[in-house]
């Protein structure tokens, strides 16, 4: 039920990372989806595509790892593991 709010927060973090990297375009993000996060990779990508539209993260590849450990301390969470940013001036065409 909170997918949109989670993705919005994640996008805000990704954009902050890109900004810190002098505004380069985001090429790829790696996320970890907890066993109880209620996300599948497809479901996550769908939300990501919507939320990133019109930002430097639009079109970024999403690498999603699903964990199946129900007892993991972050099992109900979504973790942004890393963001790959193109160096400024290297805009990646769609």
């Amino acid at each position: 039920m909170h997918e949109q709010a989670l993705i919005d927060d994640l996008i805000a973090k990704i954009l902050a990372v890109a900004e810190a990297e002098r505004g380069g375009q985001v090429v790829r993000v790696r996320v970890w989806l907890g066993a109880l996060s209620h996300f599948t990779p497809e479901h996550f990508r769908e939300h990501f595509v919507d939320a990133s539209r019109g930002t430097v993260a639009e079109g970024a590849e999403v690498e999603a790892t699903v964990d199946d450990d129900l007892t993991h301390p972050r099992a109900s969470g979504v973790v942004l593991e890393s963001v790959v940013v193109a160096s400024r001036g290297n805009r990646v065409s769609g």
Partner: protein, 432 residues
């Protein structure tokens, strides 16, 4: 074309629920023209997915609506199904339902009072930041919350979404010794809740009052929790089955939560302030004594002081739990048979945030044909908007970030579902 040069930045960032609400303030010159409070949390279609399911499944399915107040949904659904099937719960099972509900009031009220709302008054972002300076208070609150959770676990089988409740009672009734074992911690919790009340009563409260129409349950002889008639400060006094003759839900484009109004009155308030105004004389002597000590009169119309009323209700819930345990005798049977019959049943109980109303239509086989659920937060949404207009009008001189903080604090007065996030509100100010 060569691959662009890239750089990978490790983040290990755990996403948080943020921004489920938004607020638009429209100004014409220095005059406030409009305030709109929007809730984005998407519809969850519980009413639709209940259709076709068995009447026995409604309590467990609706419990999933909220992880903080599942008992409210379970109890309202059970009441409704028992009503349609013509079953009156025996007193000892009714008392056990009330007892587990006390556990929910304690854990929910303490979570909101100490962890979510108190930091607003003290200038902290949240409980973690508060703990750096007042570790003692945060630890007291955590232990107090745990006392409520333990009560839920011992009776309900687990703390979140308990699984031991059913239409007609419980799958298993706890033994006397299982409940007696909780007494020392609940006695500590009662004292701790008094301390919590004194602490929050010392906060500085904005000077703001609203002439609310209060709506809640009222039950002769007891502070209403798990049953009662629906009454209001405007003179309404009806059976829960008459709710839809007097209350209307409407959809507004800007919000996914429906707006509720009381016929002939308009917006109304449910929750601690309403319960307290309608039934404060039915609180236990200790809770009444604490309320008087911290300066609460018979009615409190300042929504920022709802934190104090919530703490007083925590005292009451611990006190009432101890009374119920002292009187407890293990029922001969943990449930009564509830044989389905075609008809419509209604149930309403006092969730920590206010009345939680259910209606179900079932057939002779017990299949649910239709369902309607009215949670407390959506009932309060229209009155939250009215409060925001008043508060914003008083606070237009504040810088934008302080104004946003004051608006979040105002919305948290109502303990709405969306306020778990630290910064849940996106504030937009439109100047014309």
């Amino acid at each position: 074309m060569s691959e662009p040069e890239t750089r990978e930045i490790r983040t290990d960032y755990l996403a948080r629920v943020e921004g489920e609400g938004a607020m638009l303030i429209r100004l014409r010159g220095d005059e406030l023209e409009e305030v709109q409070f929007k809730i984005f949390e998407p519809p969850r279609f519980f009413e639709a997915l209940l259709r076709g399911r068995q009447y026995t499944e409604a309590p467990d399915i609706t419990a999933r609506i909220c992880g903080i107040c599942p008992i409210a949904y379970i109890a309202s659904a059970c009441n409704a199904m028992e009503a349609v099937c013509g079953v009156d719960l025996p007193d000892e099972l009714r008392a056990l339902r009330r007892l587990i509900y006390c556990g929910e009031w304690i854990e929910s009220h303490v979570l909101h009072t100490a962890m979510l709302h108190a930091p607003d008054f003290l200038g902290y972002d949240g409980a973690v930041e508060l703990a750096r300076d007042r570790r003692d208070l945060v630890e007291l609150a955590l232990r107090l919350k745990k006392a409520g959770n333990t009560l839920m676990r011992v009776i309900g089988g687990r703390e979140v979404h308990p699984i031991n409740l059913r239409v007609g009672g419980f799958y298993r009734a706890p033994t006397v010794s299982e409940l007696q074992a909780l007494v020392p911690e609940l006695e500590w919790a009662r004292d701790a809740a008094v301390e919590l009340t004194r602490w929050v009563a010392g906060f500085e409260f904005p000077d703001y009052e609203q002439d609310y129409a209060f709506v809640g349950l009222r039950q002769p002889g007891e502070y209403a929790i798990e049953r009662g008639r629906i009454v209001s400060s405007t003179g309404l006094d009806i059976d829960v089955s008459e709710y839809e003759h007097h209350f209307t839900e409407t959809h507004v484009e800007r919000s996914n939560a429906l707006h509720s109004t009381l016929e002939g009155v308009g917006p109304y308030l449910v929750g601690p302030l309403a319960r307290y105004a309608l039934s404060s004389e039915l609180l236990s002597p200790l809770a009444r004594e604490v309320a008087a000590e911290v300066g609460l009169g018979p009615v409190c119309r300042n929504p920022f002081r709802s934190i104090v009323v919530r703490a007083v209700e925590t005292v009451y819930a611990a006190d009432e739990a101890l009374r119920l345990i002292a009187a407890y005798e293990r029922p001969a049977e943990p449930w009564v048979d509830v044989v389905p019959r075609a008809g419509t049943g209604h149930g309403c109980t006092e969730a920590p945030r206010g009345i939680c109303w259910h209606r179900y239509e079932i057939d002779d086989e017990g299949v649910i044909l239709d369902a309607k659920i009215v949670p407390p937060t959506s009932q309060n949404q229209k009155v939250i908007e009215e409060d925001l207009v008043g508060v914003v009008r008083q606070s237009l001189h504040l810088p934008e970030d302080e104004l946003a903080h004051r608006c979040e604090q105002t919305i948290r007065n109502y303990d709405p579902c969306i306020s778990c996030a630290t910064h849940f509100l996106k504030l937009e100010i439109e100047r014309m």
